[in-house]
Each structure stands twice: as C-alpha cells, then as structure tokens.
Symmetry: C2
Subunit: 414 residues, 2 copies
Amino acid sequence: MSPEIIFDPYAKLYSEVSRLSRSSDIRDLLSVTGRADIISFGGGFPYIGGLPPEDFSRVMNEVVTGSFAEAFQYGETEGLEPLKYRLIEVMAEEGLEAEPEHILITTGSQQALDLLGRIFIDPGDTIVMEGPTYVGALTAFRPNGPKIMTIPLDEMGMRMDLLEKELARTDAPAPKFVYVVPNFQNPAGVTMHKSRREKLIELAGKYDLLIIEDNPYGLLRFEGKPMAPLAGRDRRRVIYLGTLSKIVSPGIRVGWALAPAPVIEKLAILKGSADLCSSNLSQMFAEAYLGKDIWGKNLEKQKAIYRSRRDAMLKSLEKHFPREASWTHPEGGLFIWVTLPEYLDTTKMLPLAIEQKVAYVPGTAFYPDYTGANHMRLNFSFPPEEQIVQGIKRLGKVIRKEMELYHSLGLDRP
Amino acid sequence: MSPEIIFDPYAKLYSEVSRLSRSSDIRDLLSVTGRADIISFGGGFPYIGGLPPEDFSRVMNEVVTGSFAEAFQYGETEGLEPLKYRLIEVMAEEGLEAEPEHILITTGSQQALDLLGRIFIDPGDTIVMEGPTYVGALTAFRPNGPKIMTIPLDEMGMRMDLLEKELARTDAPAPKFVYVVPNFQNPAGVTMHKSRREKLIELAGKYDLLIIEDNPYGLLRFEGKPMAPLAGRDRRRVIYLGTLSKIVSPGIRVGWALAPAPVIEKLAILKGSADLCSSNLSQMFAEAYLGKDIWGKNLEKQKAIYRSRRDAMLKSLEKHFPREASWTHPEGGLFIWVTLPEYLDTTKMLPLAIEQKVAYVPGTAFYPDYTGANHMRLNFSFPPEEQIVQGIKRLGKVIRKEMELYHSLGLDRP
C-alpha cells in the first residue's frame, strides 16, 4: 500500500461537471487518493514517490543558496527568460521549434486554459472539444458561456469526418477554437493519428480556425513512434500548451503557452491581473533541474514504472473484466478509458465500487452534456502494480454483478 | 548600489492603467528595478537581500527531504490545512480570529482579487475604491466591466463623509462592494483611522455592503498603535485578504482569503478552474518557516531596515523637495505618496527624471479615470539609504526645474 495521501484538486472539477456533487460523500472520497483502505484509479497524478528526493534536494539547495534574492522575489509576468530556453529544449524533444518571445510561463497549464477561455470566448460563441475531453478545460471554458460542439474521438483521435461535417453545415456559426489533447488523451488515452492531424490543420486553414493543442503527456511515450505536434505544422493557427507537471512535478506549478506574439501579449496582460507572476523559486528550480542529466534519467525511470503499471492494468482488465467491456490501449500517458455496455451507468455504480474499496472517475465527468455514463477513466500511473491487479479484480466483480442484476430485470436489452 | 536586478510584474499594470504604454521605453525602464544606472523608487518590492539565505535554505531542505512526495505533488484546491493554522496565527498577531474552514489559500493575494472580481462584478455594477487605489485591484476588477466609484482618501484613509454622501444619493445604484487597503495603503501610505473604520462598518450595515479588506502590509508597522482589522468587527460583511509576499517572500506566491463559507466555496470552485491548486512546495515551505522563531526575527530585521529607509526618505524630501510639495508620513509599509502643485504632470515629467537617472510611478497609475497627474508614488523599502538620499536629491532638482519652466511661461497660475 502506498503511504502517500494526496488531496486531488480535480475532484472538485469532476463533481462540477458530472453532478457528482449531489453526492458529497463520493466527492469527498474522490478528493483523496492514496488512502490505505481504498484502491483509487481516480486520480491523475504522476508517481512522485518513484523519483529520487536527493536529486530534487540538491537542485533546490543550489537555487536557494545560489540565487536567493532573486528566487524569493517577484518575477517577470511573462516568465523567467532562462527557463524559456529550457522549455524550448523540452519542446525540441518532440520536434517543435520555438522562440522565447513566443512563450508565456503560466501557473500550471491550467492557468493557460483559464486565460485563453477568458480571452477568446464571448457568451454564445461556439468552441469545439473532443468527446470525452479534459475536465480542467471544460471547467475553465464554461464560465465564459460558450456553446460546446463535442466531436467524438476513437482510437485515432478526434473524428475529423464528423468535425468537417459540422463545419460544413451552413447554419453553424464559425467556432472560436478547437481544443484537442493529441497525445495519450485525458481521459481516453488515445493519440491523434498523423492523417487526422493533417486533416485538422487543413480544416483550420479552410475555416479559419484557431487550435488549442494541449500536450501535457507527449514525452510520456512508452512505445510507438513519436508524433509531431500540430504547432509544428502551423504556428500561426495553433496555440500550444505544455506543462512540467507530468515530466518534472505538479507541485512546482509550471506550465507554458507557445503562441503568436499578439496572443502572448494579451495572455501576459491578463496573467498580470490574475496572479502578477508565477513563482520565481519554482521557475528557477525548474530551470536548474531541466539543465541537468538527472531530468532525462528520472523521466526514463518514471516511464518504465508507468509502462509496467499500464501493462499490469491491461493484463488485469483482460482477465477480470467481462467480454462486453472494451478499453483503450494507450502508448503512453496516465489513463485507460473503459467502455461498458450502454445500459450501465458508472456514476450510479461508483458507490458500489467504493463499497468494494475501489474507485474510478465516471465518464460523465468528461462530457459537457452529462453523457458518457457507460464509460470510466482508470489511472495507472499512481497505484502500485499489486494494487492495480487487486483493484481491477474488485472492479470486474462489481461490473459483472451489476450486469447480472440488469440482466435478471431485463434491463440489458434496448 | 544594489546588485539585484528585478523584473517588476507591476510595470505592465501601471501602463495598463495610466496609458504609460504609449511610451514603451518608459514601461521597459519601469519594468526593471535594481539597475546600477538608475535609482528606482518605482518598484513595490520587499528587500529580500536583507534576509538571511541560510534560514530559508535550512527550512527548504527540511521540506524537500522530509516531505518530498507531498511537496512535489498536486495539492488541495483550498490550500494546505497545516498552513491554514499558521495563517490563523499570523492573523491573530493583528487581533483577528479565524477558522481554517473560512480560509482559501491563493497564488498571491492578487489571485484572490481576480477571483473576487469575477465572482462579484457583473458588467455595469458599481464598486467603490479609494482614490488613489492599488493598481493590481484596478486591473483585476476592470475586465469585469464595473462602474468604479472613486472615494478620495486623506491622511485618515477613505473619506467616509464623501462615501456616505454618495451612498445616500437616491439615484445611485447600490455598490457590489467597497475595496480598501486600510493599513499603509498602496500607493498613499496612509492608514485608516479607527473612527473611519467604525463608520465604514456602520455604512456597510446600513446599505448592505460587502467590504474587501486588503491587508498586505499590516504587520509592517514601524511605530504607532496597531489598528484592529475591519474583518474583526464584522466577519459576515468583510472579505479579508492576506499575503506572505511582504512578510515572508513574494517568490513563493502565497496569499489567502478569509471569508464566509459560501464565498470560500465559490472562490474554491473558480480557483480550481484558474490554476487547480497553489504550489504544495511553496505552501509547505511557508508552513515550516512560519512555525519557526526565525520568521518573527527576520520580520523585525526587515522592519528596522524599512523604518530607517523611510526616515532617510522623509529627511531627504524635507531637504530637497520644494515647499510647494507635500507628502504622506506612513507609520509602516513600503510607500510615500507625494503631491506636487496642481499644474505639474508626473507622467510627462517621468522621462526628465529618467534622464537624471531616477524613477518613480506617476500618480495616474492609481486612478481609474487617469486623474492624479500631480502625484507620484515613492518606494522606500527596496533602495539602500545612500540611493534614497541621492535619488530624492535628483528628483527634487527635476521638480524645481519643471516648476521654474512653468513659472517662466506663466503656466503655474490657474
């Protein structure tokens, strides 16, 4: 059992979206991960416990003693210049070229989503999102009053045929932007195929669309060929978001946006009112850490752990889940997306799962319209392998029992 | 000369408010403090160079090695519970009682201003601010489209007689809230008198007003009797904002709001979309630092430095500024507010001052309506005493020269 208890800031967002808040017990349960009594696949955490504290301690000590007066002072709203050069190296690892003047460092990439929503969305504007989509983007965009056009995704990412059809409808208003998580999507774990990426860029040109490319997991690839970011194909139309949360640490709250200069300028003005500047201490730590060999080594270590946890989960799903269930096979990232028979409702099933000491996030948390009830998101990066095996076994039992009940009542037929 | 070069995140805000952005040269100059060639009274920085790095280093090391997996992980949106108890102790130093469930920890108190503006202001709503007022509050509130009712302040704080008159006007819409910085106000340096505090609470009751009490400097008192916070008089009507930026470090970005439970709940939901959670690392550092004797000792050291710098500035102003100028005599905080003859314009004068290698923030940056042109804000916490003496001498010359020019042209008469 993991000794780490983590308070999940996402629990509030899930319940905002999926109306889980009706059951505050469940929200409270989901808000804590790493409790000894419950195996939770509900979080979306990197496994910090797998990193060597001494590496972080050494770098932090270097920053605090070597750059004390700067680290503990206010910093520039746009972010620390030397860190921008490190982030350019990070983006280069995925084949994306960038320049410091096109980067704004944010307080996690969640802040970039919030600022972009406030800048681009006027009430009634249409925006395009994947179905399912990242819950943090949903809650960041929604307060600005957009109409959300949800385009389903499959194993190859967003269905471009459906997007094209929607865009071609003469009565449809032109969307303000298309929001996508192309690599190891949260929650679905799928990666957008090359042909879909090309099509999206083509459609953006044809319909004069802006694309927000959110890429928190791109460097967490365990297998397969890396995919070039959308931003590399059209820097003018794509706003690219990165974060160190999954490849260094979420505790330092460092993300960034790469965008055309006028967008960066607008973002910087709004960031100034939102929180003045991100932490210099965090940024200087990140700069120093990314400048050392340990960063690449530690990332490889973490990827090896995640890969083996993913494999354990896939194997357990195969063994313990009913044949009516299906799930995605992510080549990286943190999540597997499970599809159960249409008649099952994972929100209603969650209390039963929790009774059996296992938790997940119900699919409805990832759709703007409360659909997705027969899906669940499972996180494999955080729980140790023995918990994964045990937890999937428990969850399989809960699902089978629920299916039997529906069958006995004749509710499993349309 | 100070070796610290600091990028000032406020420079962007000043230029947003005061139309300084017309001159990007000046904005660029104001955006850097601590340059060897210019004596700047323009910043609003604590003097981190006066703190012992080894204290910070020791505490940080304790956190990184002792609580590694938690410090570098996501945290709860509402903030770290143990830190809330420390903040309760900090508030108790000013005689304010509080409970953890009424506290939300924010990414600097700037974030609280941003979230409050988004929650409370609908386009066209009236809000009340001091004239002059804190530039960060102006830029946080303004994007939400309020009508700003500016109530002038004097040496005793906001003029309650004028506020009462405005509130009594039958045609005036009821303001959504009154925003005040009661202690050592930014930019004016004045402190709200006890009788004004009582009157404000009385008016809030009579007109059913909400008060936002922003108190970043309360614990930076060099002399005189501490004043009880407004929140202590009416916890139901007052939202109290605190920050560690001036009493520990702005580099850690830790502020907080103390408010009634329904407000904290709304703030927490919006904070979740804004940046998920504040840095656990920063919060755990703050919690550990505030738990040690060094925090009080270091604060006393800083106050002694600031006091002696304030005295140096007051003495230099007396010596070098013309008798037509007047200025405030703050009992604490970071700023002195200078009033020049009506016909002078400190925005136009700034390039002349910069030619003479001295800088300040023009008064227009602190008014919503571009008035305040004959004022300037001088910061005394950051520049060393020899710079203060030299800089005020230079600035006095610039002002005298400008006055002579106006006089010779006959422009100094109304």
